[in-house]
């Protein structure tokens, strides 16, 4: 069956684009702009150096780090792929530095290959229990998988080894996920207050985590305030998505469109933009077409990293909860974050799938996750 779907998708993918070939009249017209071309040129030089100094692991690590940073900044998965391609020949080396192995795990988990990433992290931590980066990453993967006790153990092991804000955020986040928001929110708030003069990205990350905790506690305005604070410092895509979701929930569609207008190159933000434009009746077909192409491509090539996007698209753009359930359920098997649970429960409610809801309730309770938004949907009729 998978083969059939794949073939159907391939045909779709090749046919969704118009084949209007052309030669521009203006030969100086800019066709595309390469973001950070200088940095890319520098990286090209570094890659050449690496060819001559193949055993220089510090240089390799530096290049990988820069690609990961570029990928993160531009929400561009190609940079992770460039890093992965560069790493590939080194992976069989017996004496590969732990920090490079952690980078490898990082790239894998970005493709949602959590099991593979975990194998590497466990190996690293077995030989170097004090490898803080590996422990930090493992704690968050445990969190994504819904294994809160293991995640907490790794967070606690970070105490005293890393910056207090970082370890507190890690601990408060996991504690909050287990239903202890009453104590974890003030803990994180107080810690953040001690760092308010610090403009570091750690602080912005902590604020984003706090905003998510407020959302789970049902305190929407406080969550929104934290996100506004983050967004005054940086156009963080994750914070933008959270803020857009709050505005969508409040039917403030014009504000969503204004917020995301310049960030439509990022799939998850384009999705929210299209949802808002559809609901406000100001849909631009070019955005819908671009999103549709992105979705078809994601269905064809995704290793699992886009399941949440696909399910949300089927639910909120195609208004097809029955179809969305299939992907949302698959996504929930892979990752168990509150957003994944919220999405699945919204799909099940929209499809009036009572059996599915009952079964989800059991898993949700077993996991020990607490989230007011999800509990509200499960308690009564209606969804977002």
């Amino acid at each position: 069956m998978k083969t059939v779907v794949l073939i159907v998708l391939m045909i779709s993918l090749t046919s969704i684009v118009s084949a209007k070939v052309y030669r521009p009249d203006d030969h100086t017209q800019v066709l595309i702009e390469i973001e950070h071309s200088v940095r890319l040129q520098e990286l090209k030089v570094l890659r050449q150096q690496l060819k001559q100094q193949a055993n220089n692991q510090a240089l390799l690590s530096n290049i990988i780090a820069q690609y990961i940073k570029l990928g993160r900044e531009h929400a561009d998965e190609r940079y992770f792929s460039y890093a992965e391609s560069l790493l590939k020949p080194y992976l069989q080396q017996a004496h590969l530095a732990a920090s490079i192995k952690v980078q490898w795990a990082d790239i894998l988990q970005r493709q949602h290959q959590f099991t593979e990433a975990m194998v590497i992290l466990n190996q690293v931590l077995q030989s170097e229990p004090s490898q803080t980066q590996a422990r930090l990453m493992r704690s968050v993967i445990y969190q994504i998988k819904g294994e809160y006790k293991l995640a907490m153990a790794d967070c606690k092991a970070l105490l005293g080894r890393v910056d207090l804000l970082l370890s507190t955020t890690c601990i408060a986040q996991i504690d909050g996920l287990q239903g202890n928001l009453e104590r974890s929110i003030p803990l994180l708030q107080q810690t953040i207050e001690r760092y308010t003069n610090n403009d570091s990205e750690t602080l912005q990350w902590s604020r984003t985590v706090l905003a998510e905790m407020f959302l789970r506690a049902g305190k929407i305005s406080q969550a929104s305030d934290q996100l506004d604070e983050v967004l005054t410092h940086a156009n963080d895509y994750y914070a933008l998505a959270l803020k857009a979701d709050i505005l969508l929930q409040q039917a403030r569609y014009d504000e969503v469109m204004a917020l995301l207008h310049h960030h439509r190159k990022v799939s998850k933000l384009l999705l929210r933009y299209v949802i808002a434009s559809n609901r406000s009746g100001k849909n631009q077909s070019i955005d819908s077409d671009t999103l549709s192409a992105v979705i078809e491509r994601a269905r064809l090539f995704s290793t699992g990293a886009h399941k949440r996007l696909l399910a949300r698209y089927d639910l909120d753009v195609k208004n097809n909860p029955q179809l969305a359930i299939i992907t949302a359920r698959d996504n929930w098997q892979r990752q168990r974050e509150p957003e994944d649970a919220l999405l699945l429960v919204r799909c099940l409610t929209a499809a009036n799938d009572r059996t599915g809801l009952q079964s989800f309730r059991k898993t949700f309770q077993q996991q020990g996750l607490r989230d007011k938004r999800i509990e509200a949907i499960m308690a009564g009729p209606g969804d977002e």
Binding site: I11, S12, I68, L166, A293
Partner: protein
Amino acid sequence: MTSELKRLWQGLAMNNKCQWLLFMLFMLPVCTYGHSSSEAYLSLQIKANQASGAWEFSLRDLEYVVGVDANGDGKITWNDIKQRETAIQQYILSGVHIIQREQACSVTPGETMLNNRQDTVFLHLPIRVVCADSIEQLTLQYQLFFSQDIRHHAIWTIASSSGSVNRISSANNRWLQVDLMEPTSYLGFKEFVSQGIWHIWIGLDHILFLILLMLAVENSLKHLQRREHNRQRWLRVIKTVTAFTLAHSVTLALATTGWFMLPTSWVESAIALSVILAGFNVLFKWVNERLWLFAFGFGLIHGFGFASVLLDLGLQKSNLLLNLLAFNLGVELGQLVIVVLAIPVIAGLGKMNSSGIFIRHTATAGVIMLASVWFVQRIAM
């Protein structure tokens, strides 16, 4: 903590120079991607020993690997492309090989053009391929971009008189074998037809509803002269089944195109209810002359049931009509087989007088009981 880590963390706290670790953490629970994965699109239309087509590559990918930005200003113009055209074409031709029965075919590029795909620009290279023999078994060797981008994909469309085939080249699948003597262009279509057939055959509720309709047709013949039975039976069966088909085709189309949907639990319950009512109709002969209307009404509900199956198959917008047609065709074929098998049995029972009536009524009562269980189960879902 090692001195190296200390330095890293101090760097994090003091300035923004050493941020990769933070970024790593920052992005962990977050997967925010652009529409940025790397693909190439290659097409070939084959005729005898020649092929023509166009190969398209993202300018962004070409810039990374070959270098298109001739003046290094970060902006790619047509002038840049013309300056680098030879290098680009050399790169492409060095990494894509077409082989027919172990003999490499010649590949000649045409004049470079552009094509806008989604939100970016692709280089469009017309291609002419000439092989020594008539092209029947192709080997496609694709090596471009993989050494720099391990997740790159090339999507091939190969068309010939016997149909068209789509294939994907990836880092783990650089050699593709295409046998043009075994066309697979309609595999998707065929598969959807067979899914339609399969669904009606495994859908006991649909089968029972159809059989009950046939039994009701048989009832409606009672007041006619026996010699008219055969002709009238087939006429009425065709009328009833056509009404059922039309109705479920309408709702199947409405649901799969997203125009109108009903919750699955409602649809499933209503289908069970339709079987119960069709059963009672056989026993009490409520509807005789306007059976087609009865079939049409409940056919609308059954269509929503078929739609949920079709949607589970991963239907896509651009192939929607074709797949819808294929699936519906499959349902009709499956239905036809059931009708053709059921009619002689039902007609035989009709000739058996009292024992035939007993068998019909007992079976119908059993079906009503079974459908009632389904109804209760589904309504409680």
